[in-house]
């Protein structure tokens, strides 16, 4: 049974369902349920649902400790950039302890944060920084682009025995979509084909999935049939689905809200360049944010970020329908 609810409600629903199902799931963070009237507090009490001070190193480090002790913490970090305050715990501790112990321990923790706040939240709150996390084996990354995936990927993240950066895109929080009731899990490492097509493959993440679909509509009226793939998780990354698609279409455009360098787009491009070279009829093209700190002023902010128009324009280029910019 599915019904339409907003993305942000789907996230909360997943947490609630998993907490009901598994008494070892614990949820805490800054401003999480300050009031005792909050539904999660009402349902699970103040032991399992806590407010913590602004102390990211302790909040994330504690999650590691809880996980080592057999619990499944979900830490609300609010914004991905705040993870940077505790970078050591996120990348140098959580994903490495299992390996260094020779497999003796595991760290099932979920680091939940928002990203992509482009709405004048300015340079330090707006970033799509997950690209750098792809360089830390052991750390999984989920980027839900739909309300159903917001629920399903959160459930999967909580059930996963590894540390997961679960990142919600703030531009999507009020998007409504069909979300199944009850337990619902979307497995990691399985990309979703959002739109079938034969002329070009567009791989898009998070908010840019919607932009890619809008671009596909525009392109359809020009006789261009685009396939849009949403990887859903960057680690594990479903390169199989992407490569099959490129084999069919021969062309790849990647859209991501992060910067061009050190980002998800670069990793995907390099995988296809190496393993799908013989399928390519044109160079791979990337539609990412510019390599600048995101500016505050609205027209500049819009200029920096990818969007449907830029994606459509880039598709035309790889199809040779438009001149390549100097």
């Amino acid at each position: 049974m599915a019904r339409e609810i907003p993305y942000i409600a789907a996230v909360q629903e997943a947490i609630r369902v998993e907490m009901e199902r598994d008494p070892t799931v614990v949820f805490y963070g800054q401003d999480v349920a300050p009031s005792d009237e909050d539904p999660l507090v009402q349902a699970f009490g103040r032991e399992r649902v806590r407010v913590s001070p602004i102390s990211e190193t302790a909040e994330i480090g504690m999650a590691v400790g809880l996980a080592l002790a057999g619990y499944r913490p979900v830490v609300e970090l609010l914004m991905a950039e705040f993870m940077l305050v505790a970078m050591n715990q996120v990348v140098n501790e959580a994903p490495r302890l299992r390996y260094m112990s020779g497999g003796q321990v595991k760290v099932p923790a979920v680091f939940k944060a928002g990203y992509g706040f482009t709405a004048g939240w300015a340079g330090q709150h707006t970033g799509s920084i997950y690209g750098m996390f792809m360089g830390f084996p052991g750390l999984k990354i989920a980027l839900p682009a739909t309300p159903a995936d917001a629920k399903g990927l959160m459930a999967a993240a909580i059930r996963d025995d590894n540390p997961v950066c679960y990142l919600i895109n703030y531009l999507l929080v009020l998007e409504h979509g069909d979300v199944p009731e009850g337990e619902y899990v979307v497995p990691f490492g399985e990309a979703a084909i959002r739109r079938g097509g034969s002329d070009v493959t567009i791989v898009a993440t998070g908010w840019t999935v919607g932009q890619a679909l809008a671009a596909a509509e525009t392109l359809k009226s020009e006789g261009i049939d685009a396939e849009v793939i949403d990887p859903r998780t960057l680690n594990p990354l479903d390169t199989g689905t992407i490569l099959s698609s490129v084999e069919k279409t021969g062309r790849l455009v990647i859209a991501d809200q992060g910067t061009r360098h050190g980002g998800a787009s670069a990793v995907i491009a390099s995988e296809v360049a190496e393993h799908g070279f013989s399928s390519l009829k044109a160079p791979i093209a990337q539609v990412t944010a510019l390599d600048v700190t995101v500016p505050y002023s609205e027209p500049m902010e819009a200029y920096v970020l990818p969007n449907a128009e830029k994606i459509a324009g880039t598709v035309r280029q790889v199809l040779g329908e438009a001149p390549v910019a100097a």
Partner: protein, 342 residues
Amino acid sequence: MEQLDNDRLVWMFTQMLRIREFEERVKRTFEEHPGVIRGHTHLADGAEASIVGSLAALQPGDQLMATYRCHGYPIALGTDTKSIMAEIYGRKDGLCGGYGGSMHLADPGRGFMGTSGIVGQGIPQATGLAFAAQLRGQSQVVLSFFGDGASKQGAFHESLNLASLWKLPVVYVMENNNYNVATRSEQEDANAAAGQPLSTKAAAYSMPGVTIDGGDPVAVYESVGAAADRARAGEGPTLVESKVYRLSAHGNIIAPPGVPLHYPEHEAITTFGNREEYEAALRGDPVPRFRARLIEQGALDPARADEITQEVRDEMDAAVKFALDDPFPEPEAAARNDYVYA
């Protein structure tokens, strides 16, 4: 906390000696078997009384986290010293299969949940273990071991604040050896510079803070034991500043591949030219001091002490031999996906 009878006191002495003899052999490996130990090791010689006194307060189900100076804890907990030495030598039967090395020992089955190689970063993790203990509600306690250097870290501040706010069952044991690598505490700590004990910091967290002689295992046991009792009773955390003196340098020298590694002299001598401080510490060495005290109070017979010493030396010699003979892991074992991901 239980009273210490003679058997328990002799046990404490034995564990202290085991740590000392193990660490001596790690150090000797650099001279006797150059190239066998790679990277960076950190020895607990001088801290035995603090380690053993603290662990003596543990009950089954309790847990701890430590720093990269971690050999002493699993030794006292009963982990097989052959496997610890093999881990330090990078062999396949090492405690962590050769994956971690000296700085990353772990024996979760005995409550030793692991370490961090980064100063202070195990403190929030121990705090998380205590959060779990609170949830379980089985009167477990967690010991968080760290050095004086860590108390300048944000991780220390955040963890102690949270633990006191939520009354988590954790005892923060700061082994203050007055040095952070080659820097003296007065050079980097405002309290030390003002001549105050570092336990003063506890006041910022509404937490009791005590400073004790970490060279006296009974004093450590009583202090950590009392703090553990408080924690078990739901009264929250305590900061115990245990004053120790490490008898070796911070670690072996750090050098690029090809340069033979060795243990230099203590930084008191090499950096500060203060041989007298070091010699005084040697004279106050907690291991022979405790042996003499137990003999004097009749808890330990000199012949038995010698016997124990020989047994311990034999045990540690066997550990070295085992580790030297143990093969390396298969190179492909590095790519074990089930160790990267659970």
